[in-house]
Amino acid sequence: MIYEKYYVWSILLRLYHWCLVISVVALVVTGFYIHSPWTLTTLEGTGLYPVLAMRNIHGLAAYLFTAAILTRIFLLLFGNRHERITDMLPVTSRNLRNMSTTFCSYGYLRDCHDDERLGHNVMAGMIYILTMIVALFQVASGFYLRLPENTFWQKWGIILFSSQQHARYIHHLLMWYFIIFALVHIYLVIWNDLTNEDGITSSIFTGNKFRPRGIK
């Protein structure tokens, strides 16, 4: 079979993706450390500041994470047609059709493919939108905890989370969303690469996807 190459993911989207990966890994690791520091806690006279260092990395990664999320939100509105929000939610008949196809292929119901589509399937699209919303809450609670005296974050932090302690609790719970998301996301990418021929894994490096010649 002859395949044709299509340019799907822009450089900005791929950059966003990898910034998100790096920042989430750093945030989860340092976040667990800040929650319960696991280094030897009786060291005297070392001149090391492990908790301070971890908090600094957490803060740095948080700015990368925020930048990544804002980039993705920009692309939801102004990206190419595969990256826009209209391609990700079940709001058009084409997207609704894709949802049933995706459901039947993920459920092994029939041998079904949506060959006309190059971007996200709509189920993934919906989860990504949910992830953006969760990420915004994570950013808000994070900045509220980080900058408690800042009047902007204080105002919004209290409206959204009430006390610092409650914000911290929400911040910690939402972290688990990202861990579980990563597991399911990596599994489904591998699964899609095994069952489809569009080259989904390499597309996040190169931006290109493939489909057999002749299909429009």
């Binding site: 806690t41 092994y108 006390s163 302690q165 609790y169 688990w176």
Partner: protein, 362 residues
């Protein structure tokens, strides 16, 4: 030793020296210039000091006790001296009808001029029957007094955020003053109990400048609640350098390391405890080896407990409280099992299809 004990001055009169000393302490807590101290003194001795109505609702009187039994006698004397307490159930001489009469007299005579201090939460459920004084509910009393007050000082976590009475499931519908009063300025001097100096600072600020001090979003005066305990804590260096007490009584605890890992809520709590300290003996909970429990924060019984853990438990109906990370790991486990099953079904399908295809080939 016994001689000095006996020679302690038990005089309850506030002398000039003690008065100036106490005002200076308050000025330091307020963070105002020493040049302002004469103004504070002037305001505190002015003959036109507003009378104070002190309302007790659902509370333990611990806030009053803290104010009156401060080990620094000048502070408590100053409180009694500068504010003319027309109605305070704990310390007033009058009782019964006489007491209620003095409340009414003040309301009539000083409408719009008196200061109202509220101690205790207000139960709102079932028409407020869970707290009644002289046959009237707390809701009714507050509804009568609040509109006539110049300002209200809510003292203690009960009056500010409802405290333990408002903890889930809040059987009496307890609420703080700011949830019920909207037309009169309310300032929240939170804590369980609050530091007497924070209360006195608020009152003196009002008397001196004729307005309430600047507050945060939750109505707490910034001079006392502007910083987190963690940021002024004397154990902060141990935190940054990663030295922690792992449990009470261990090496770290005995060496004065940070109490973060035994559940200190200093990083989430706004209060001036580390700088102003308590009882005039340079002590406060963290300095004597117990973590902060976050008593100045809203809903602290629901969010700061368990007191010796960092985060509250996830409440799952039917199961009860589960540790956050245990809940997270369980959900992650379920997700991993679902992924495993999905993959196994896929492999199974593929295998059965390939055997069918093999048969076709034959």
């Amino acid at each position: 030793m016994s001689d000095t004990t006996q020679s302690i001055d038990l005089n309850v009169e506030l002398n000039r020296r003690g008065f100036v000393k106490a005002c200076t302490m308050v000025a330091a807590a307020l963070g105002i210039s020493e040049a302002m101290i004469p103004k504070l003194l002037e305001a505190a001795t002015s003959a036109e000091r507003p009378p104070v109505l002190w309302l007790h609702f659902q509370e333990c009187t611990g806030c009053t006790e803290t104010l009156l039994r401060g080990s620094h006698p000048d502070i408590s004397r100053l409180i009694l001296e500068i504010i003319s307490l027309d109605y305070h159930e704990t310390v007033m001489a009058a009782a019964g009808h006489q007491a209620e009469k003095s409340l009414q007299d003040t309301l009539d005579k000083y409408a719009g001029k008196f200061l109202c201090v509220v101690e205790g939460s207000i139960p709102t459920k079932d028409n407020g029957i869970y707290c009644k004084i002289a046959g009237r509910t707390a809701v009714d009393i507050l509804a009568e007094v609040a509109p006539k007050a110049a300002a209200i000082i809510a003292i203690g976590n009960c009056a500010t955020f409802g405290n333990v009475q408002a903890a889930a499931p809040n059987p009496t519908g307890a609420k703080g003053v700011r949830d019920l009063v909207f037309d009169t300025p309310v300032i929240n001097v939170s804590g369980c109990p609050p530091n007497p100096i924070s209360f006195l600072g608020t009152v003196l600020h009002y008397l001196t400048f004729n307005r309430l001090p600047v507050t945060d979003q939750l109505g707490r005066p910034l001079f006392a609640y502007g910083r987190r305990i963690h940021d002024h804590c004397e154990r902060r260096a141990h935190f940054d350098e990663g030295r922690f007490a792992e449990e009470f009584g261990d090496f770290g605890h005995r060496n004065g390391y940070c109490l973060y890992k035994v559940g200190c809520k200093g990083p989430e709590t706004f209060a001036n405890c580390p700088s102003v300290r308590w009882n005039d003996v340079e002590a406060w909970p963290v300095s004597v080896g117990h973590g902060c429990i976050g008593c100045t924060e809203p809903k602290f019984w629901d969010t700061m407990t368990p007191f010796y853990e960092r985060l509250p438990n996830v409440k799952i109906p039917g199961i009860g409280g589960v540790n956050v990370d245990k809940a997270g790991k369980t959900i992650l486990g379920i997700a991993a099992a679902a992924v495993g099953i999905h993959a196994a079904v896929g492999i199974g399908k593929k295998l059965s299809r390939s055997t069918k295809d093999d048969k076709k080939d034959i």
